[in-house]
Symmetry: C2
Subunit: 453 residues, 2 copies
């Protein structure tokens, strides 16, 4: 798929969001304007707050939620597939019989029995951890926030695939990390690029705090780190002393063949593993976790305590009860089949309908297809026209810290029904075709303008 590595050559430190944020540290920015109001606090904010900008996904939510739009944006699981009556009965019994715990504060590390169950879930993928190693977090997102909080000083380097998960980039930006992207392709993260990037940064005296990676069923790229590359990535990080943050929310949602073992299944040293029930049970409980080496775990617990005191017991115990009393393994199988069907609908429609010059990944699991548009088509500029044609996606730029990715779109097939996916892609293909004919009609003129103007 992508050539999309980090374009650090195009001006180096002087470009990209990271550079803009650093520049803001010394000179106060212009006051932000909200409607007709000037922000009277503009010169009061912390340096880190100046880098807080609305994610492209968030701005899309309101629009994409309109019923006439087929949303391939989002990234939401299809929770309607859960047996809601049974889950409701379970929750009711839980409150009635264990309300004193479910409605009370918990420890910052999380409920003991839930952490035991989490270890059973990880064991399904070959990850063996002790409940003591686990910290329950408000989704994986909080784990990312807390890891960045304990490791990253402003200007420290975080390595991430190109592209990378938008929520992770948001957490890294909030702590003023400089994200350096590492190239990936259809086999996932490129080990040679990783080694070369680490070597270059080390030579430049930069502090690399960790590599953030989604090896299986990548968000947004839809690719999986190949079996051959996994030990190489581990070895490169081990040798360079670079901590590895493995984010694996989709690992149990593989469609084709035997899923690959997580990196954490090979070694507990130097790896922090992030898991989540958002995709295998329900996003609305916001139960994720980190399994970390003891020293890091201790810091994560302290950081969690100062961030939220503790995770909601109400959610934690609901998940604990779900895992204890409901056929959750079968439910995951059902989700897997459901998402496989939607993946097939997406790939079938793309193959049948997308104009020449488009390329896309073939996810073996997870929620996402990463679409590359033909040369000259800008996914971000195209989005309003796509929405007018009643289809939404996320433009690629949100998944790069350096503003690149305009030629990409993330298509999420998890939430719409298969026939809606096909219809959405039909609409999208029409939009792309329109863009292409505009391009072919006007591009020579535009180029002429530039030359003459």
């Amino acid at each position: 798929m992508s050539d999309g590595e980090t374009r650090r050559g195009d001006g180096g430190m002087g470009t990209g969001a990271g550079a803009r944020r650093r520049a803001g540290d010394t000179a106060p920015p212009a006051p932000a304007v909200h409607g007709s109001r000037i922000d009277q606090y503009a010169d009061q904010y912390a340096a880190r707050a100046r880098g807080m900008v609305a994610s492209e996904i968030r701005a899309l939510f309101a629009v994409a939620a309109r019923p006439e739009i087929v949303s391939l944006a989002g990234g939401s699981p299809y929770v309607a597939a859960l047996p809601l009556d049974l889950v409701g009965e379970m929750a009711g019994r839980l409150i009635a019989s264990q309300g004193r715990d479910a409605l009370q504060y918990c420890t910052a590390q999380g409920d003991d029995e839930l952490r035991e169950r989490i270890c059973e879930v990880m064991a399904l993928e070959g990850v063996h951890a002790h409940p003591d190693d686990v910290v329950v977090t408000v989704g994986s997102q909080q784990a990312l926030d807390l890891i960045t909080r304990i490791f990253v000083d402003p200007g420290d380097v975080v390595l991430a695939e190109a592209p990378s998960y938008v929520g992770a980039l948001g957490a890294f930006a909030a702590y003023q990390a400089e994200v350096v992207h590492v190239a990936m392709d259809d086999e996932g993260l490129n080990p040679e690029a990783l080694a070369a990037t680490i070597a270059g940064l080390s030579k430049a005296g930069r502090r690399i705090k960790f590599l953030y990676t989604v090896p299986s069923f990548h968000n947004p790229a839809g690719v999986t780190l190949s079996a051959a590359r996994r030990p190489r990535v581990l070895e490169i990080c081990r040798r360079a002393g670079v901590l590895l943050i493995e984010d694996n929310p989709y690992g149990l949602l593989g469609f084709d063949g035997e899923p690959l073992r997580p990196l954490r299944a090979e070694t507990a040293e130097g790896v922090v593993y992030l898991g989540s029930f958002s995709k295998t049970f329900a996003a609305g409980v916001r139960v994720g976790w980190a399994a970390a080496p003891p020293a890091i775990r201790d810091k994560l617990i302290l950081a969690a305590e100062s961030a939220v005191l503790c995770h909601p017991s109400f959610s934690q115990l609901a998940v604990r009860e779900y895992l204890a009393t409901q056929p959750w393994r079968e439910q995951i199988k059902a989700f897997r089949e459901l998402y496989r069907e939607r993946r097939d609908a997406a790939l079938g429609a793309l193959t049948a309908l997308m104009p020449a010059g488009c390329h896309w990944t073939h996810p073996a699991g997870g929620f996402f297809v990463w679409l590359r548009l033909p040369p000259g088509i800008d996914a971000k500029a195209m989005l309003p026209r796509a929405v007018a044609s009643r289809v939404a996606y996320v433009p690629g730029t949100g998944f790069y810290a350096d503003g690149s990715g305009r030629e990409y779109a993330r298509l999420c097939y998890s939430l719409p029904e298969p026939h809606q996916i096909a219809e959405g892609i039909r609409r999208l293909a029409g939009v792309v075709e329109n863009e292409l004919s505009l391009r072919d009609t006007f591009a020579p003129v535009m180029r002429g303008d530039q030359v003459n103007g």
Copy 2:
């Protein structure tokens, strides 16, 4: 867990994996020791992580939870007073009928209808806000974390009462704020001390980011800012341009007479108001909120998104449903009566049993009595002996950023039954009496030792 291949003292920085992980840190801190392990990541953490230390309350939880101990520590609400059957039925119906929302992601600002209900709750105390002003947070703790995140650069000053809420001090420390305490007395925060502190800091060129205050039924001090002082505190902050963070988790739990209006009831300008359902409904849902001026609200939403993506819908909708379908005003009245009875039990036992030289506050609401021990008695040193006598409290030192407060203990009366409270205070009085007789027996000798060298 592998055992200590890298024991401390066997060669210092030259041994162990940590030495490999050099990353250009100029002054690596001493390796942290966890049991027999050296923390191999010790020189990798962010500067802010070095200030993360376990709170004194957290270390107490395990001990205070033992059934033979009367815990006056904690700070937990008495959730067993809730009609758990009815709340369970409500939760069950919610999932069965609205599971698609309750189990799905939400926006980072929080559920629309919940924010409307929150405005109704605030209106009970005379605070008028628009749902747009409200951001739902994972307890008030997350609001504190996010406010500090957006405002505080390392070294910035945060003003707080002396003593102040331990969780707030933890959040401020996590962002390397310097907390400057302002004196308080039985009428709450002292306006003259506030004005003088602000003037002194301004003269010294320090950046004051905000005043953090709990005006009503203070945690831990159990006092309330008097009606006469409220406008003065507001005016001092307004003139000095100091943002005011008003934390009001106990405001609806006043026992005596008409409660005072929150500061935010007088003005929305320059005040961020924090509320919580932890004490009026259930701590385990972790639903708190901030009502903030628009520019700050926008930053809070972005910060919340990067911290947790969104608050658990499961919890939010449970609170929404509780407020929509259950007699929550009557439940608050019931809580108020219940805690009043416990407050009376605590004050009665203190008056009857505490030896001379002890002083304590008389809370008109909330959960806490602040006990001052006689001269020479150290609440922190006494704690193990108190626990041996089967009573627990929180020593005062946790509530000061500067290590003072050894002569204080926080007594929380919210969780034990009245007869347990009386028994706990009887035990505590015995412990204090023992300390006093030890002091009177040995103090002259100790002083003699010091003089004689």
